[in-house]
């Protein structure tokens, strides 16, 4: 049976959820999410260091989605919005969790998984070197992404990237990434 996005979304959407969204990831949506989370963090009187990390990681997570979501085939376009993605920001056990989900073509999985595994194998100093190398040697893609988003997230959070690929159909998987921010 294929992965059910609605069930997964419901599963994520419990506990201390600050924000949950599923639908089109547009530039406007990104603005709204950032405003909402920023004001919630201010209401919590969260320490500025954590507040900034959450904000930074959220920007990268959303813009990663924005730049990299694979387009779905016609027959799913009625069911799912264009640039369909999910986002859940929650707080559990003194830490913040940002989960994102998006469709990925099966032939893109290998590269992405290799990249994440590489990032997860590096320590803090190695991540810094990787970041600086990509910053200095890689051009921005036409989409505007620079290949730095995941490295930056790993560096800023100090945690491994938690991910999974769930089979959706013959051509697509649903990619889920969770990142944690704690003191």
């Amino acid at each position: 049976m294929s992965f059910n996005i609605q069930d997964y979304y419901s599963e994520l959407n419990n506990g201390d959820v600050l924000l949950a969204y599923k639908g089109s990831i547009s530039s406007e949506l990104i603005n709204n999410v950032l405003d909402t989370i920023e004001s919630k963090l201010q209401d919590f009187d969260e320490h500025s260091k954590i507040r900034k990390k959450v904000y930074n990681v959220l920007v990268e997570s959303l813009q990663n989605l924005y730049h990299h979501i694979d387009d779905l085939p016609e027959e799913y376009k009625r069911e799912f919005d264009e640039r369909f993605g999910i986002l859940v920001v929650s707080r559990e056990d003194e830490r913040y969790k940002i989960s994102t989900g998006n469709f990925i073509r099966n032939n893109h999985i290998e590269d992405l998984e290799a990249k994440i595994n590489k990032i997860n194998s590096l320590d803090r100093d190695e991540l810094k070197e990787m970041y600086k190398y990509i910053l200095n040697h890689q051009k921005l893609s036409e989409k505007g992404g620079g290949g730095l988003g995941l490295v930056d997230i790993a560096r800023k959070t100090g945690h491994k990237l938690d991910y999974s690929f769930r089979v959706f159909n013959d051509e697509y998987n649903f990619f889920i990434l969770s990142v944690y921010i704690s003191n």
Binding site: S48, K49, K52, Y55, V59, E60, Q63, L135, G144, G149
Partner: protein, 125 residues
């Protein structure tokens, strides 16, 4: 040369580039497409580089910047590095808020790439 003066928005920083040798970028730099925003700034510096003042003062005070902007900011610094190599003084002040170690480290990353000394300035409340 005409100065550049741009007001900040929720996603883009305020910019003041003056032919009198003062260059400032302040605020948030988190646009989805950063190239569009930074290209005129890099072009301006390319022109300024051909006839710079003896001393150029650069103030960078960012609250947030995304990885898309980070490459464009490096392009800005590379123009400044060229001016520095041309034996003109370039003073770069990198401001970061108290406790914002990530922003301090970001400044150090740039400093190690472009090899122009940065002055790291902590802003306290």
């Amino acid at each position: 040369m005409e100065p550049i003066s741009i007001e900040g928005t929720a996603k883009t920083p305020s910019v003041q580039f003056s032919p009198d040798g003062v260059i400032e970028i302040k605020g948030r730099s988190i646009p989805e497409n950063s190239v569009e925003f930074y290209k005129p700034l890099v072009d301006w510096l390319e022109e300024y580089k051909s006839n710079p003042l003896e001393k150029t003062k650069v103030n960078i005070q960012l609250e947030y910047f995304n990885t898309s902007s980070s490459k464009c900011i490096l392009d800005v610094f590379k123009k400044l590095e060229a001016i520095h190599k041309g034996k003109n003084e370039v003073e770069i002040n990198w401001y970061y808020e108290e406790d914002d170690e990530d922003m301090l480290e970001a400044g150090e990353d740039y400093e190690s790439i472009i090899r122009v000394p940065f002055k790291m300035i902590e802003i306290t409340d």
